[in-house]
């Protein structure tokens, strides 16, 4: 199948913006977190909201404490009389849908925006709501429990261990100190990780992700609308695995499949990319993901500091795309972007971005 993004088609990223810093902002309603980000992305793209007719948003109702969470932010993301639709999943799925709106030929511009408030609820209760209601929820699991089970299973299967995850975490924290948006401000060492509090099973506090709020937006454009300096979305794949207890949670074949889809569309592989931005809420996940992306597990990635530096769930995938786009504007040629979603990372989206149209 010919890639939908092959010339003369194409999807360009012409504007990007993120919250100044991902951090708890409990005092703000989502609308005040989303507005500056959409405003700044439009300014970065050099377009006005008057030029925009299409918006794809991304948020999770149960985190916002509002059903139809896009209603709370609709006015500030340009929803008035425009075609806006919300994807309830990771922000990279909103990017897939936004790209589809451009490739359909019906819109030459589409704003894609994701937001999440992690700090306003009890995450244990919120995360528990995603588990099987009949036989799992009553036991009280949350994402951390699933991650701990996955870490344990992964270490047994791979021969890697908490020390390897601690190294990943230490490197991420060091990168994060150079990223003004990251929540973490001071680096820590692998020894610091090992000495930090036990959260669950083998998981230590410093190898996880701090709780943050924030938003992130991109402006997508058709090739006719893209100017100089545009970054191109060359390929994007999404693949779902079965629910976590129906599969081997060390298995990363869904990620591999998503990466292959994106590779087939773009003609790029991980080794072509100077920049790799891959989301991992716990450090061991990165050790699992990199080989499935075609890289060595210990390769240093995420110049932004990644999710471990602090970035909210659901925003994190789109934020990886924004960070990658910024690195491409600074001189890199190709970038690989990835984010998982679902308990024990059931679903994966992988995208290739490039300064070259291909």
């Amino acid at each position: 199948m010919i890639s939908p993004m092959a010339s003369p088609s194409g999807v360009a990223i012409v504007g990007v913006a993120m919250s100044d810093r991902f951090e708890p902002r409990t005092e703000l309603p989502p609308s005040e977190i989303v507005y500056p980000v959409v405003r700044d992305a439009l300014a970065d793209a050099g377009v006005s909201m008057d030029d925009v007719l299409s918006i794809v948003s991304c948020s999770q109702d149960i985190y916002d404490g509002r059903t139809i969470s896009s209603m709370g932010v609709n006015e500030v993301l340009g929803g008035y009389l425009r075609s806006e639709s919300k994807v309830a999943g990771d922000g990279l799925l909103a990017l897939l849908y936004g790209a589809a709106r451009i490739l359909s030929g019906e819109y030459d511009l589409t704003v894609v925006v994701a937001h999440c408030m992690e700090s306003i609820s009890d995450l244990h209760v919120v995360e528990n709501a995603a588990f099987d209601p009949y036989i799992q929820r009553p036991l009280g699991p949350d994402d951390t429990v699933a991650a701990a089970l996955q870490a344990d299973a992964f270490y047994r299967a791979s021969g890697l261990g908490p020390g390897d995850a601690a190294e990943v975490s230490a490197r991420a924290s060091e990168h994060a100190t150079r990223n003004p948006r990251a929540f973490r401000r001071t680096p820590h060492t692998a020894a610091d990780v090992a000495a930090s509090a036990t959260v669950c099973g083998l998981l230590r506090e410093l190898e996880g992700t701090p709780v943050t709020d924030g938003a992130c937006a991109l402006v997508l454009a058709s090739p006719e609308r893209a100017g100089e300096g545009a970054v191109w979305l060359r390929g994007i794949g999404n693949t779902t695995d079965t629910f976590w207890t129906d599969r081997d949670i060390t298995d990363t074949s869904a990620l591999r499949h998503a990466a292959e889809t994106a590779s087939a569309q773009s003609g790029l592989t991980a080794s072509d990319c100077e920049v790799v931005e891959t989301a991992a809420r716990w450090a061991h996940e990165q050790l699992m993901h990199l080989p499935a992306l075609g890289l060595d597990a210990h390769v240093d990635v995420n110049p932004s500091g990644g999710q471990l530096g602090g970035c909210p769930k659901y925003v994190v995938g789109l934020a990886r795309a924004v960070e990658a786009a910024l690195r491409l504007r600074e001189g890199a040629v190709n970038a690989l972007v990835h984010a998982p979603s679902g308990i024990a990372n059931q679903q994966h989206t992988v995208a290739y971005l490039s300064r070259e149209r291909g």
């Binding site: 999770q60 404490g65 209603m71 999943g89 709106r101 359909s104 209601p133 629910f243 059931q346």
Partner: protein
């Protein structure tokens, strides 16, 4: 940019309760029927789009739990939960993904098993927690206020609204899937039903249903292999409004979002005389007065003419422009599926598969709308003729 069509649909028989199935089983019923209607198996489906108000059932991110129910292993899976419009949001998501050329065939699913949750509790969170929630009076209070503005503007009478309620439940008798089938319903019965909030009586309101709807959608080249007469999606439009429930001055009688989508769709399709140029309409009418107001906003009749429109019998199933021959939302309302049911029913009309409520043998052009959120509107036009030919 291939044309996109609906090539198969399936629905559960919508009911007040479905204690005989759990949530995955309920959804799967509609999925299996849609696959059968399209003559495909999961193997032919490239991606899944799923819509459901999970918070109503006290669930979150349930697309992951339900991945196997939809045959989504190894495939892309997108989830939507945009409120009343979720069924049309899901349909439009699938439409754009197919039109982009990303996939060849997509399964779209929507459902709600409201008997198992606290819909009122979840719907309360629609209100802004700071500015609106303490004064909320529920969906019925809001709808009644909107209806009162429409009554003041148009002079529509209780009897005229009751005729809409009668039309819906009688049409429902011709639809095996419909929830509220009332063959002997009369205007008098509607006017004698319990007053909920003036002017809305029990029989003026939609029910709460448990049910599911699914559709198989395909791109050009693939659709033709699956259906002799695909229902092509010729135009889609969507518009939203401002943040708060009182922002739109005449929220129902001059629904800004519906007027906006109407203008876009009719311009694209060259529709200047909808009663004659449309063969059938499946519109999302949450209550009887709303259907008449929506008909005005869709230019099926002149402004303020909704009452005369129903009096003249134009939207009856044997009228010049049948509106909701399926029985509409007034007969069936599983929220996660409702807007998709509008699209599926419109598709069934174009495909000639609507059985006893098929309005005529050759339906060329059908309109489907979605409504929800803060007076949001989605609309699609389905045609028998392929758009680009």
């Amino acid at each position: 940019m291939p044309d996109v069509a609906i090539v198969g649909t399936g629905q559960t028989d919508h009911k007040s309760r479905r204690d005989d199935v759990n949530i995955p089983e309920l959804a799967r019923e509609a999925v299996d029927r849609a696959l059968a209607d399209a003559g495909v198996t999961f193997a032919e489906i490239d991606a899944v789009c799923f819509g459901n108000m999970d918070l109503f059932e006290g669930l979150a991110e349930n697309e992951h739990w339900l991945a196997s129910t939809f045959g989504a292993e190894g495939k892309p899976l997108l989830k939507f939960n945009t409120g009343g419009t979720v069924g049309t949001s899901t349909t439009m998501g699938a439409y754009y993904l197919l039109k982009a050329g990303f996939y060849r065939r997509i399964l779209a699913v929507g459902f709600e098993k409201q008997a198992e949750g606290n819909s009122q509790g979840a719907i309360t969170t629609v209100g802004d927690p700071i500015w609106e929630r303490p004064m909320m009076a529920g969906a019925i209070g809001n709808h009644a206020v909107m209806a009162s503005t429409y009554v003041a503007d148009s002079g529509v009478t209780e009897e005229q609204a009751a005729k809409v309620a009668v039309k819906a439940r009688r049409n429902a008798c011709l639809n095996p899937h419909a929830h509220l089938k009332l063959p002997d319903i009369t205007v008098e019965q509607v006017l004698e039903s319990k007053m909920l909030a003036y002017p809305l009586r029990t029989l003026d309101m939609c029910p709460t249903s448990n049910g599911a709807c699914a559709m198989v959608m395909a791109g050009d080249g693939h659709a033709q292999k699956l259906a002799a007469r695909p229902a092509w999606i010729a135009a889609v439009a969507s518009a939203h409004d401002q943040s708060f429930q009182g922002d739109s001055p005449k929220r129902m009688s001059e629904m800004r979002s519906l007027i906006a989508v109407r203008e876009r769709l009719y311009a694209k399709m060259g529709i200047t005389d909808p009663v004659n140029q449309l063969d059938v309409a499946e519109i999302y009418e949450p209550q009887s007065y709303a259907e008449l107001a929506m008909c005005e906003n869709l230019l099926f009749c002149e402004k303020g003419g909704g009452g005369r429109f129903i009096d003249a019998g134009i939207p009856l199933i044997d009228g010049e422009l049948p509106v909701n021959p399926s029985g509409g939302v007034l007969s069936t309302n599983p929220i996660g599926a409702t807007a998709m049911i509008r699209v599926a029913e419109a598709a069934m009309q174009v495909m000639g598969r609507a059985g006893d409520h098929q309005v005529k043998p050759d339906v060329q052009t059908a309109l489907a709308t979605g409504y929800g959120g803060n007076a949001w509107s989605d609309a699609l036009i389905l045609t028998a003729r392929q758009p680009s030919r």
